[in-house]
């Protein structure tokens, strides 16, 4: 395979970013949008071609018998500091990066297309498309990274483009605050990531993924049993690298930025904060999985963080009012599912089933969660509100959105034959095989997922039927256009339909043939015991949601009132933001920074100001010497010279 296509895959979005970013002002919004979409379409075709070549061509570069190989298309030295410390930029093709080459351009293209309708008439339309291209470039660069440092560079770039897009409506204070929050929290996590990279490469002497992962035992021995605070240095390195993943993938306790990130435009939420960027943490762990396998403790850490986050996010999602927040917490919960899938994967259990399941879930989740977000965008577009309280009974007005949203809900709840069933079932099987506790725990979370998704579905599309005609008339006074909620234009519904179709069929992909942790083929067999349990739980949860929310009634409110404190706590996300504010503001700002600032202002500045003051005063006291009378100076000089001469004479003679 020559290197033109891999280079083009990265170069086209970058070029589009520069073109739209620099020349966008001179273009009409429509031209900019179409150009961005066409650029992404080209990338879509090229990436599909690359991924399909990798999976199906049977070229000995890519596959050895039945084992898939890691193939480096190119690996260019970018910065060379010393012999060992070399930073390269390259393009790595292996099962997971090829899979991401399908996921990212697909979602990105759908979002580009959808935004043509959704963002129509917004100020800064060209800028929006420029940022979307920048994001696509960074995300593609991240997944094809050949070494951990390249990954880190693009990791920061996706963070930056996420920051720019969350703060797209920069006139809204809430959007500005949300973008800053996302940037700061993920940057804080990236500090851990960087330290982890440095520790890992300090001992192993390489950044290269292929070198690291092809011979994990060598990595293990290069650490030579170094320990730090009771854990081995390797565990520390892996946990610290995982910290970066926790920040990007919104795992507890660094999840607080993701719900606020919903301040950005909805298509951005679909692309960045649901389908692609937030799974970067999962991707990172998957990329370094052979190393994680060396230290069970680090995998245990991944599992525990994932399991706690999944449960927490599912509880909170049950009580949110803003539909995008529900989806945000659902995203957190589903990503935590993938983390758990990786955490429980062991080579001795079904040849690392959890790894495959996690990647499978990443794939299917990207599709159906993008679908749900784009559907939510269509709803918000129609109703002009983010809250489900402003919706209800919309199934009559927006049939396309209704059906596609329902498909998304069924997929995420794990109802066969929709895609979520297959991937989630694999994760649950892996959990049960690892330990029954994780299995039961994650099944419970899966049930809650079904419940809150269908709660949302029924509240939006059934429940009460607000008088939209009445409201449309009211709006007519305010906004000058009176219309009932209706389906969006084709640029918005077409992506919904395509993604819905994908969500129906992509569960049937024999994923084990393509993506496994060592490249061996693996045949998925559904374990009907576990599958039966998860289907039963999901169906019960859906029926419960249907019973509670299909028609307007007081039961949900009564239930919430009966356990007010719990509902309130969950609604306020268990006060995590308040805890963070307490820690940062009360302890760090008031307790540490203010005394330091006081010390700086009064002691250090005081010393300097004191010196300056003394000099100043002394100068003005003796400035009379400079009288302008030249002969006075000479007198003083003469006296000085004589005294000096006298002193010298006394001392020498």
């Amino acid at each position: 395979m020559d290197i033109t296509i891999p280079i083009l895959i990265l170069a086209i979005p970058l070029f589009m970013f520069l073109l739209l970013g620099l020349g966008g002002v001179k273009m009409s919004p429509k031209l900019a949008g179409v150009l961005g979409t066409l650029g992404m379409g080209t990338v879509l075709v090229l990436s599909y071609y690359t991924a399909f070549t990798y999976f199906f061509s049977g070229n000995p570069l890519f596959v050895d018998g039945t084992d898939r190989l890691q193939f480096v298309a190119f690996n260019q030295t970018w910065l060379q500091f010393t012999d060992k410390l070399v930073i390269k930029l390259g393009f790595l093709l292996d099962p997971i990066s090829a899979m991401m080459l399908i996921v990212i351009p697909t979602i990105s293209f759908m979002v580009h297309l959808y935004s043509l309708g959704y963002m129509h008439g917004e100020r800064g339309f060209q800028r929006y498309y420029a940022f979307l291209s920048l994001f696509s470039f960074s995300m593609l660069g991240l997944v094809v990274a050949t070494n951990i440092f390249q990954m880190y560079i693009f990791w920061e770039l996706v963070g930056a483009s996420s920051f720019l897009l969350i703060g797209f409506y920069y006139t809204l204070p809430s959007a500005v605050a949300a973008s800053k929050k996302a940037f700061i929290v993920t940057r804080f996590a990236d500090l851990g990531f960087l330290i982890g990279i440095l520790v890992l490469s300090y001992y192993t002497g390489t950044f290269d993924f292929k070198t690291l992962c092809s011979n994990p035992q060598a990595v293990f021995s290069s650490f030579g049993g170094a320990t730090f605070m009771g854990a081995s240095a390797l565990t520390w390195a892996l946990v610290l690298i995982f910290t970066g993943g926790m920040g990007k993938s919104a795992m507890m306790p660094l999840h607080i930025w993701l719900p606020d990130a919903m301040e950005g435009p909805t298509p951005v939420s679909a692309l960045i904060h649901a389908a692609t960027m937030v799974v970067a943490g999962v991707y990172l762990v998957a990329r370094l999985f052979p190393l994680y396998l060396l230290e069970e403790a680090s995998l245990m850490f991944v599992t525990v963080v994932g399991a706690v986050t999944a449960f927490y996010a599912a509880v909170v999602a049950c009580t949110q009012i803003d539909i995008k927040r529900v989806l945000a917490f659902s995203t957190i919960s589903q990503i935590a599912f993938m983390m758990v899938g990786l955490g429980v994967a062991r080579p001795e259990i079904h040849e690392g089933l959890g790894y495959m399941a996690s990647m499978f879930h990443l794939f299917t989740h990207a599709m159906f969660k993008a679908l749900l977000f784009l559907g939510a965008g269509a709803l918000i577009h129609a109703v002009h509100s983010n809250n489900y309280t402003a919706m209800g009974g919309l199934r009559k007005y927006m049939p396309v959105t209704h059906i596609t949203f329902l498909i998304g809900c069924l997929a995420i709840s794990g109802i066969p034959p929709f895609s979520g069933f297959f991937s989630k079932d694999e994760i649950l099987s892996a959990c049960y095989e690892n330990h029954i506790f994780w299995g039961v725990w994650m099944t419970m979370v899966a049930g809650m997922t079904a419940f809150y998704m269908f709660r949302l579905y029924y509240l939006i599309f059934w429940w009460d039927d607000p008088d939209y005609e009445e409201r449309a008339k009211e709006n007519a006074h305010g906004h000058g256009h009176a219309s009932l909620p209706h389906d969006a234009p084709w640029t918005m519904t077409l992506p919904l339909i395509i993604l819905a179709l994908i969500s129906i069929v992509d569960g049937f992909i024999p994923f084990g043939k393509f993506v496994t942790w060592e490249g061996h083929e693996y045949t998925i067999h559904i374990n009907w015991l576990y599958a039966g349990i998860s289907i039963a739980v999901a169906v019960i949860a859906i029926l419960l949601a249907r019973h509670l929310y299909i028609r307007k009634n007081d039961n949900p409110k009564a239930m919430a009132d009966s356990c007010r404190w719990l509902w309130e706590a969950a609604h306020r996300r268990f006060y995590w933001d308040e805890i963070y504010l307490f820690i940062t503001r009360r302890i760090i700002f008031d307790g540490i920074c203010k005394p330091i600032a006081w010390f700086d202002r009064h002691v250090i500045d005081g010393t300097m100001n004191g010196l300056a003051y003394v000099t100043n005063q002394a100068s003005s006291a003796i400035k009379g010497f400079q009288s302008g009378k030249v002969q006075m100076y000479i007198w003083w000089y003469l006296i000085g010279a004589l005294i000096l001469g006298a002193v010298t004479a006394v001392c020498v003679l």
Partner: protein
């Protein structure tokens, strides 16, 4: 009669003291300049004398004197130029009246 260095040094000392006295007391800038020249010439005499009596074989003192004369000429030209310019501006070259350059 034997000429010792003292015969040369005493006139040179007198010249130097006259220069210092004139420099401190005269108010006319031209006179001050002349006083400076007087001091310089006293120093030149000393150079020559010490060279002649202490290091008869070498020429450094003589050369240095020539050098100092050259410098003195340049310095005088510069000082005269300054004084003339000052006179054009202030119509006055009395050093007691020119006291603008102060704090």
């Amino acid at each position: 009669m034997e000429f010792t260095p003292v015969y040369y040094l005493i006139p040179s000392l007198v010249m130097f003291c006259c220069g210092v006295y004139g420099f401190l007391t005269r108010r006319n800038m031209i006179a001050m300049l002349i006083s400076i020249e007087l001091m310089l010439n006293a120093v030149d005499i000393n150079f020559v004398v010490f060279n002649r009596y202490l290091f008869p074989g070498s020429m450094e003192g003589m050369m240095f004197t020539l050098f100092a004369i050259g410098i003195a000429a340049a310095e005088t030209a510069l000082a005269i130029a300054i004084i003339i310019n000052l006179y054009r501006v202030a119509k006055n070259i009395d050093v007691h009246d020119i006291t603008q350059m102060k704090f």
